[in-house]
């Protein structure tokens, strides 16, 4: 109990001492909190979007086979489909028909894709909510598409994917094969690419090797590469944000370092007086420890809570311009919070601990010299 009472007295004294230099310490607290808020926001955002991307893309095709002609992606003939089906270990292979469509009225790019479930519904499309947002008059329930021969086709919108699926379907326009071939004038017997399922996932690279041997003008892309791509995309983007913030982080480090390591004459005199009235060196150090803890712990807790509200309640409103780019159709998605305790602990040890330690060291130097020489 006595120890607890002593610590409470020390905290009382430290808080009074901090309040005597109210302006300086409030400025430090605000900047420190803002810094932690920014870093934690980047951490929460990249962590959650990476996790969500990995979960969603678990169902991506195991192998996608593209045909390349003169280094460019080209249509793949149906004969290739038969050839890959013959490869031992391939469970199923299917053609995919998809392509890009630039809608000049809205200036947006759509992804037109064939959906097998619409094979008996010519003239009908299912669209992502982003497509509907860009239409000039969505109330008509139709979407005009200019075919490659210059003619216009009006498709009836029978279904709009909910906004929650924007991360994967914002720009999708699903239609039947017949309509798709009509719009792009793609002859029968050709597909955009092939998607494969294999019996044993351990054989993926072997099968990919067999495909390139059998069909040298093709390029197989594995699901693992898809997942790695998105891991890299979000690491990169988090990195870009950190680089943008780097200047402010550095300015804060200099500010905090200066504040924490360079004791002012007033602070030195205070330590001298405390020593003269009978405080032990250890008491002075504990008081300085509390000073560091009060500032850094308050900033850490406030910064982290504010970052959580920013990312998961306001859809990262501050980062939006960086993430949105110029895309007209950019999905308006809400992230599911995935908090990584290790990352949070990392942020704690990189912010709270160094600051607290740097406040103690100069105080120890001031506390070990004779009180009269410090006060003089």
């Amino acid at each position: 109990m006595r120890i607890l009472e002593k610590q409470k007295n020390l905290v009382d004294f430290t808080l009074s001492s901090l309040l005597r230099r109210k302006g300086k310490n409030t400025a430090l607290l605000v900047v420190y909190t803002f810094m932690i808020f920014l870093l934690a926001s980047v951490m929460f955002f990249t962590g959650s979007i990476k996790k969500e991307a990995a979960l969603v893309l678990e169902g991506a095709p195991e192998i996608t086979v593209q045909r390349l002609v003169a280094g460019r992606h080209d249509l793949i003939p149906a004969a290739y489909l038969e050839a890959v089906r013959e490869i031992r270990g391939v469970r199923s292979a299917a053609p995919r028909l998809w392509g890009y469509y630039y809608d000049f009225t809205s200036g947006a790019n759509f992804t037109l894709m064939v959906d097998e479930s619409l094979k008996d519904s010519p003239g009908v499309v299912h669209v992502g909510s982003g497509v509907l947002r860009t239409l000039m008059s969505p109330e008509h329930g139709t979407i005009p598409i200019k075919a490659s021969d210059g003619s216009f086709h009006f498709f009836e919108i029978h279904h709009v994917f909910p906004a929650e699926s924007d991360l994967v379907a914002s720009d999708l326009v699903l239609m039947c094969e017949q309509d798709y071939r009509k719009v792009f004038s793609i002859p029968d017997g050709f597909a955009t690419d092939l998607v494969l399922e294999v019996r044993n996932p351990k054989e993926l690279t072997t099968i990919a090797g067999k495909i390139t041997q059998l069909l040298p003008d093709t390029r197989p892309i594995l699901r693992d590469e898809i997942l790695r791509t998105y891991e890299a995309v979000f690491d990169w983007r988090g990195g870009v944000l950190v680089v943008i913030l780097w200047g402010s982080v550095l300015a804060f480090v200099i500010f905090a370092w200066d504040k924490a390591t360079g004791l002012s004459a007033e602070e030195k005199r205070e330590i001298g007086v405390l020593k003269a009235v009978g405080w032990e060196t250890s008491d002075v150090l504990v008081m300085k420890f509390w000073e560091g803890m009060i500032i850094s712990l308050s900033s850490f807790l406030t910064g982290v809570v504010l970052a959580y509200l920013h990312v998961f309640f306001s859809s990262s409103v501050l980062f939006e311009p960086v993430l949105k780019g110029w895309s007209v159709l950019y999905p308006d998605f809400r992230l599911t919070p995935f908090i990584d305790g290790t990352q949070l602990a990392g942020l704690f040890f990189l912010t709270v601990v160094p600051y607290t330690v740097t406040t103690i060291v100069p105080s120890w130097r001031a506390a070990v010299i004779e009180p009269d020489s410090v006060m003089r």
Binding site: V11, L57, V233, S298, L323, L329, P331
Partner: protein, 102 residues
Amino acid sequence: MFERKSHRFFAWLGVGLVLMGFMGIHAAYRRNADTPMLRGKGQMVRRLALTDLCLFTDARYARNPVLADLNTPFQDCPLSLEHFPSGSLLPVPPHLGVHPAR
């Protein structure tokens, strides 16, 4: 009860910790509530055999980075530099790098 400064500080610290706790509870709740939505998105990816997320729609290689070639950003003209802004926010996919990781 809060007449001493230390009491007020510890109360403030307590509030912060409780809020952090709420953060964890809220995250767990939202994860559970969002599971059907995430599963739905996963099923859509599986059904339509999608390879990419819809993050940028301004350029082909930004809409489908997984399916892009190294020359894609330059293919409109052999000497043209990539000019879409999203290119700065998307790194080259690892499997297209100088030493592709496979």
